[in-house]
Amino acid sequence: MDFWLSYATLASIYVLLGLSTNLLVGIAGIFSVSQAAVFGVGAYIVSYLLMNEVTSFLPAMLVAAVFCVLLNVLVTLPALRVSGDYFVVTSFGIQLLATAIFTNWTFGTGGANGLPGIPPADLFGKTLDSTTQMVELCVGAMILGCLAFWLIMRAPFGRLLRAIREDELAVAAAGKNVLRAKVSAAAMAGAFAGSAGGLYATFLSFIDPSSFDLDASILLLTMVVVGGARTLAGSIIGPFLLLALPQVLSLIDIPTTIAAAARQLIYGVLLIAFMLFRPQGLAGEKL
């Protein structure tokens, strides 16, 4: 029972990350490979605020979300100057830089040892310390996230982003501010990733840089590609499916030493196979 609850909790958190990546990569066409870094910043901020008893959970989440909005806008600004392929390289550098900071800034992040003993989340003065309460919180957050994504995509803003993805110049010629729309998409993606970080930290009560490194960013991209780019269903299916993979692997009798490597291998193969044979993913549109 506990296993299913933590699976649902973790998957809900990753759905928020999937939405974030989908907004940025799938919809706005900003090919970022550093979303895990933003996720990490959210996690560290909430951990810091809760561990030092600066604020309670909700204000801490708000601070993390606002900070990640600003961070993501800053990080994606180069994408508004350099085009597609070059931005991947820039974003790659940003991810490496973030990993270096997470690992070496021992005072703020606990360095490679991570931060243990992060307090559980609380809502309106009530501590959510059981797994059931945590799953409710995370599934609730996921539903809110999905609702927000759905509302955004059916509004003129969603249509504008789709048009921008097809032809920026034509959107500008239609009198629209392309830059502003892209910055807004990056901001929304930042808010999703930051909130996911806060939930992740309070759920696991321990974080370390390995959850927010390049592998994690690529896992997020794989989730979006496998689930399906640019759709709500794709952002939900991808995380639920890929997070089940380690559990499936644990049923097969392989030594634990190669299990992690096998998982990475399968993620890689899935990413390549989907890009080649089913670019629209299970429930999406072509990336």
Binding site: I152, P156, F157, A163, E166, A173, A174, G175, K176, S184
Partner: protein
Amino acid sequence: MSDYLSATGLEVSFGGLRALQDCSFTVERGRITCLVGPNGAGKTTIFNVITGFLRPDAGTVSFQGTPLDGMKPQAIVAAGIARTFQNLRLFVDLTALDNVVVALPSQTGEEPLAAIFRPLHVARAQTRHREEAMQILQHVGLAARAGEFVRNLSYGEQKLLTVARGLATGAELLLLDEPASGLSASALDQIMDLLRRLQTEGKTLLVVEHNTRVVQQIADEVLFLHQGHLMARGTPEQIISDPALAEIYFGGVI
């Protein structure tokens, strides 16, 4: 003579190539002005300069007395000038209707926060925008194709849709880049009819066109451009009957 749109001393070079050289002209309100000239004469460059996609090295463009220098494309659209592209640049994965809706000015819900926190308000505004876009499609004769994806439309229908998208911006001056090229005879008649109707409704049109038959039928005035410079202006008859211009225009071909 009013100076509705006026360009003075435009200079544009691409490396060693001088695309526009001391190019000056005016466009009068309520008329259809055709911009003609051989390939490479600088017609599309003029469009790019007027609409803010290209900054001229020298010279200025004014619209209703206001200089457009340094204005961004979206500001120029807001001032009342919209354009189409020779290669259409439609949003092929959107429906015909959505192509038009995108171009309607300042919509509620173009901001993500409004979309999330005022969904009902946005939904109501959307219904209104769809009706508005539908009327524009009706106007250009595409109402029956509203729900169709652009890639399923014929080339002629796509051309009409680019005009519809320009109209949706609310601009009163439309710059149309070869609206009639590559069209069948019936599609040609349809678009010429549309351009004339737009004129009677008070729009001003500046049209790049190669087809002399089309120019003769729709133009009030013709600007003849050669090597980035305005070489002549006059009625279609004056321009077409001038042997020197015909030599430049057809010389390279025949």
